[in-house]
Symmetry: C2
Subunit: 369 residues, 2 copies
Amino acid sequence: MPPFSRFTALTEQLPASVPFVGPEVQERQAGTPFMARLGANESGFGPAPSVIAAITEASATVWRYGDSESFDLCSALARRLDLPCEQIIVGEGIDSLLGLTVRLVVETGTPVVTSLGAYPTFNYHVTGYGGRLVTVPYRDDREDLEALRDAVLREDAPLVYLANPDNPMGSWHSADAVTAFARSLPDTTLLVLDEAYGEFAPDGVLPPVSDLAQLPNVLRYRTFSKAHGLAGLRVGYVFGTAETVARFHRVRNHFGVNRLGQVAARAALEDAHWLDHVRAQVAAALQRLAQIAEQNDLQPLPSATNFLAIDCGSAVRARSILEGLNAHRVFIRMPGVAPLDRCIRVSAGPASELDAFEKALPTVLAGLT
Amino acid sequence: MPPFSRFTALTEQLPASVPFVGPEVQERQAGTPFMARLGANESGFGPAPSVIAAITEASATVWRYGDSESFDLCSALARRLDLPCEQIIVGEGIDSLLGLTVRLVVETGTPVVTSLGAYPTFNYHVTGYGGRLVTVPYRDDREDLEALRDAVLREDAPLVYLANPDNPMGSWHSADAVTAFARSLPDTTLLVLDEAYGEFAPDGVLPPVSDLAQLPNVLRYRTFSKAHGLAGLRVGYVFGTAETVARFHRVRNHFGVNRLGQVAARAALEDAHWLDHVRAQVAAALQRLAQIAEQNDLQPLPSATNFLAIDCGSAVRARSILEGLNAHRVFIRMPGVAPLDRCIRVSAGPASELDAFEKALPTVLAGLT
């Protein structure tokens, strides 16, 4: 039976694409669960016990819609960032905020600049709103700031994406380089600065908030899905100038941020001890993952995130290793395009999950033809 | 400081509108909390104890992204509706699903038919995507099916909205009338059939699932926010033909439905006893609200929902009563346009909240000039 006949011309031509195939979907396809979940850069170290307690305490209040302004959370973020609340919007995860951003800027044919192999969900939104992706290759496994800026100027693009630290490679630019990049853009180009992994970055990687807070053409995105261990609760935020940020109010889903997410995120912000604990666990896990890689003659790349890109020598080999690990019920992912796809990407996780990776990897490598 | 200068022409002209001012926002404005929360048609009877237990049990798993297919919940819904999973999409509440629907159908200038005074959030989405709202007055406090169809034909509109039972009036059409309406529409017009309050409707109001399930131009929307008491967890679903429903996969936020929402909704579906309990509580509360209205010489309207529209005689009087009740810290709402705005709208709630309403109402009425 054909579908309804009058969808827009734009959506008629879109593919039924999924930026990522979720691990549960893969488990259903395989008919068996994963033993290690190291593919989605979640925090296997979990949310803080204080956060779990806050969720439990609030669970009986879920009959109430969430606060449409996420006021308590926004206020806590404002204190943390030393910004007024008006410069911050809380949303249903960075993915949702990226979608709203694209909707605010992109029309059919609008050129949007990003790096070839960078975040697929951003690309999904750009395509979904009819934009035209202009991609720039990575350079030495980092996003190429100069080439991104050249592409912006060449295309007169109103939107450019940069993740710092980067996903999927784990690489980074210095705060000074990012600030210089932001300032070098025309004021007619909006910089989407995705800092989802910012809590893992060493000092000197995230530009100080005040260095970019006065630029109307810069928006910075952060999340509770990574270091704070709340991926399943869908809370992210964006900050920039008050006037630019206010545009989200015209298009956002006002009651979209769930109540337990708001409560949990606020509790997570207050538990600095747990964040330190997670950072230490992640650092140790990345060190161990690097050792495992080297013991198997694979090359770990430097990382400022909670995952490790591991160079397998070629795309064919990386793909085979990924499939072999998946067959051993170890969930990992890999970049989608050359030359990044010579790597696999493995998330930091608890020791038992790294054990599974450590055990499976040599078997998988030995089985390669 | 002006905002970023290159937002789309469409979003540049949108107002920073909010379809509803949330109760928490009103509490902050007033500097004092509400004593009774009877304005958002939430379920003050709460989620089931079994649901709270399920949330608590799952709280430590929130570090994982939710299943991108909401498979367990979708499967449970499929069994309940006797439909294959492919005919159902779970989303972040009906509001989000309405936004996606509008995005799939509406371009700049697209005519969209709805009733004058019907759900503001649907209108927010239509305006937000550049659509042109064509409104039809209610007739005897019900949505006017004949006039809606006439407007669809006159405007050649690809989208029409109908809530059954209706919000904000609580009125309804018979299943037969709704089915006939759906079948009378051109196949080039998509019917958005909002059944958010369906669990409260008496027999003979909701068309049987199989009666409309083969129509590519009908989508039906239901939610866990009302009878199931999960407004704060943002879970709704839409069902229709597999081919029409599949279009949502092209534009939806694949990992947008939070994990605890999925878990809680599934638990709620399995607790038929609690649903019966809530329905009985709502029926009793509506009866009491009607008595309170009559004791104060106000006219309650019939309701097939979990709220009561109460005729106050005029818009000015209704507005004064609403403001008076709010001043007594009783949160209620009222329809936005004539002639519906001669009414206030009060949600069913626990006895203590109705007590506050009962106590405040005569004082408010006595104070009217």
